[in-house]
């Protein structure tokens, strides 16, 4: 089937390409106006029907998944790209309608300036930020412009999932909506122009960020690390300012690429939360993806036709275009496949819709979650697993055994207040190694951190939390014989 064959190519052309349509094709919906674009494979829409379709999809997505409650504070994560700016314009559109069909939440905007990690000059960063600020002030929502350098001042609480509000069920959603309509509250948006502009990112933090990204060997790991840090920063800003939901602008095409790419990266276990509509891994802050039903084509056409402003900001660098990183390769694979088989992206999307997150377990202790991505740790498996086999082959293929690390392990101390493992005085000045972080990470985060040459360049909140957890687990091991198991307690 997959052969590079002349015949096959010819056959494919006959099968896949629809006959060349004449000009002045009519819109399939209203059948009156001239169509201006083709969505999906063969649906031609005129301008006004397309606008209606686009707007309706957004509201239907929010209405179908009833997770956003009236008067809830929602943070919109805008990267400047067309999808997130389209999302911003949809929110604006939805909030401006007459009640009761109005959208009913209180939005804020956040933009993460990643120029430090991407090697942009401060002039370019300033230029992009100014352009974005103009867009944000026009919307009238409060906005936060945060530079990535601020990861170096994050607290360790970011890595600890919090318990969510257990009261949010479907029944209570309906009640909340009815109550809201009864009281006829007006959404006060845009009065306070809280433009939190943290343009004062200290140069030493920029240097630390630069050091971190230069010590990461592969572009795959760099992109992964960037994504993780960005998530943490958004989460922290949401928590600090009282936002309980974050809206991300991932489009259908992007999510299809992400789905396949994440599987290649080893994140298969977390696919449901990474690509689903709502992602509740952080507990109190839920990430939602309302744009997941829109293909890139629809978003670009809408932005173009209805003048949605967006800013193009360069991202991480690369040497070779297609094979530079796994994410890049997956994207080019899916895009190329999509051009010949137009149902690729929608098939992947439909498959992702069928994935559901299992109910969260009762034990919310942080040790059972990965340190970086806060998904369940999938590396605590027994010996008869594929994972264990990879560990064995890794050990066997090492050139010489690493005995030096064992010696150093004995001479370490934990942070103050956590209790000391070794009796007597402890002098802690050993730097953190990958070996220490290994047990705290899920499979794919392990691969990412493995590519970090100098683990100490990681931001302090990660290293501190890692040490704390590791000492705790060591302590637990030491006193394990005195601990009562949960099984014993049940009697």
């Amino acid at each position: 089937m997959c052969q590079v064959d002349e015949e096959y190519n010819g056959l494919e052309n006959i099968q896949e390409k629809t006959p060349v349509p004449t000009l002045n094709k009519k819109c399939v919906k209203c059948k009156e106006e001239t169509a201006v674009l083709i969505i999906r494979v063969s649906d031609a829409f005129c301008r006004s029907c397309f606008k209606e379709y686009f707007i309706h999809k957004f509201r239907a997505m929010l209405g179908k998944n009833r997770v956003i409650f009236p008067q809830e504070k929602v943070l919109l994560a805008v990267s400047g790209g067309s999808a997130s700016c389209a999302m911003l314009s949809q929110v604006q559109e939805g909030l401006s309608r007459d009640a009761p069909k109005k959208l009913r939440f209180v939005p804020g905007i956040i933009y993460i300036d990643e120029g430090g990690a991407c090697g942009l000059s401060s002039d370019e960063r300033q230029r992009s930020v100014t352009q974005l600020k103009k867009i944000f002030t026009e919307t009238g929502f409060p906005y936060f412009i945060v530079c990535l350098e601020q990861v170096f001042s994050l607290p360790t609480s970011v890595l600890v999932p919090r318990t969510s509000d257990p009261d949010r069920s479907d029944a209570s959603y309906k009640e909340a909506v009815d109550e809201f309509i009864r009281e006829k509250q007006e959404v006060t948006s845009g009065v306070d122009q809280l433009g939190l502009d943290d343009s004062a990112c200290s140069p030493e933090h920029t240097l630390s960020l630069h050091r971190l990204f230069s010590s990461i060997q592969t572009l795959t790991a760099k992109e992964d690390m960037l994504h993780t840090l960005r998530q943490h920063l958004i989460l922290h800003t949401a928590r600090v300012n009282g936002y309980s939901k974050v809206m991300m602008g991932d489009s259908c095409s992007r999510l299809a690429v992400k789905l396949l790419g994440n599987m290649a990266l080893g994140r298969g276990a977390a696919l449901a939360s990474d690509t689903g509509f709502s992602d509740a891994r952080y507990g109190d802050v839920v990430i939602v993806r309302p744009m997941r039903d829109y293909s890139s084509k629809e978003i670009v056409f809408y932005s173009r036709m209805f003048h949605v402003p967006s800013v193009f900001i360069p991202s991480l660098d690369t040497k070779t275009p297609n094979k530079a990183s796994m994410q890049r390769l997956t994207e080019s694979f899916v895009t190329n496949l999509q051009s010949d088989f137009p149902s690729t992206v929608s098939t992947i999307y439909r498959t992702s819709e069928k994935l559901h997150t299992a109910l969260p377990q009762q034990s919310q202790e942080p040790a059972s979650k990965c340190l970086l991505c806060l998904c369940a740790i999938d590396t605590n498996v027994d010996e008869a697993s594929a994972f264990h086999a990879t560990l064995v082959s890794e050990r066997l293929s090492r050139i010489k055994p690493q005995e030096s690390s064992d010696g150093l392990n004995a001479a370490r101390c934990c942070g103050e207040g956590q209790g000391c493992v070794s009796t007597g005085s402890c002098s802690y000045n050993r730097s953190l190694l990958y070996e220490d972080l290994k047990t705290l990470l899920c499979y794919s985060c392990r691969l990412t951190v493995k590519d970090v040459e100098v683990v100490n360049t990681l931001p302090p909140y990660i290293t501190t939390e890692a040490e704390k957890r590791e000492t705790r687990s060591r302590m637990k091991m030491q006193i394990s014989e005195y601990l009562l198991d949960d099984d014993d307690d049940e009697e």
Partner: protein
């Protein structure tokens, strides 16, 4: 012998990086006996406007997958894609939807030597 065609080309979504960062271009295609179609336009762009990395914009006969083309604000699939015959004062827009194209800046900068985008039009 057909008259020379004046066209307005626009590049967006990152595709402008391949053209020195300039989004809007007014070009005049030389007159020829057969009318110009999109296929010939792409070949002309590749030969005259694209200075480096043509494979990031054009793949074979057509544009690279992921780059959308609008002709007079309508989807080019409705116009016949490559077979569409260009008319005078047509507006053709190329918008890139690929994430990866954002990587182009650094690459091109490395190739060109840290030159910032020229704000003046290029003709």
């Amino acid at each position: 012998m057909a008259a020379p065609l004046a066209l307005h080309l626009e590049f967006g979504g990152g595709a402008e990086l391949l053209f020195d960062g300039v989004k809007n271009h007014h070009v005049t295609l030389p007159g020829q006996s057969d009318p110009w179609d999109m296929k010939q336009l792409l070949a002309w762009i590749r030969g005259n406007m694209l200075k480096e990395r043509p494979e990031l914009f054009i793949q074979g006969d057509t544009v690279r997958p992921g780059i959308l083309v609008l002709i007079n604000d309508a989807d080019w699939e409705l116009m016949g894609e490559l077979e569409y015959q260009l008319q005078d004062q047509d507006n053709v827009v190329f918008i890139s939807t690929l994430h990866g194209d954002k990587c182009l800046t650094q690459e091109l900068k490395g190739a060109v030597g840290e030159r910032s985008p020229d704000p003046r039009g290029r003709q």
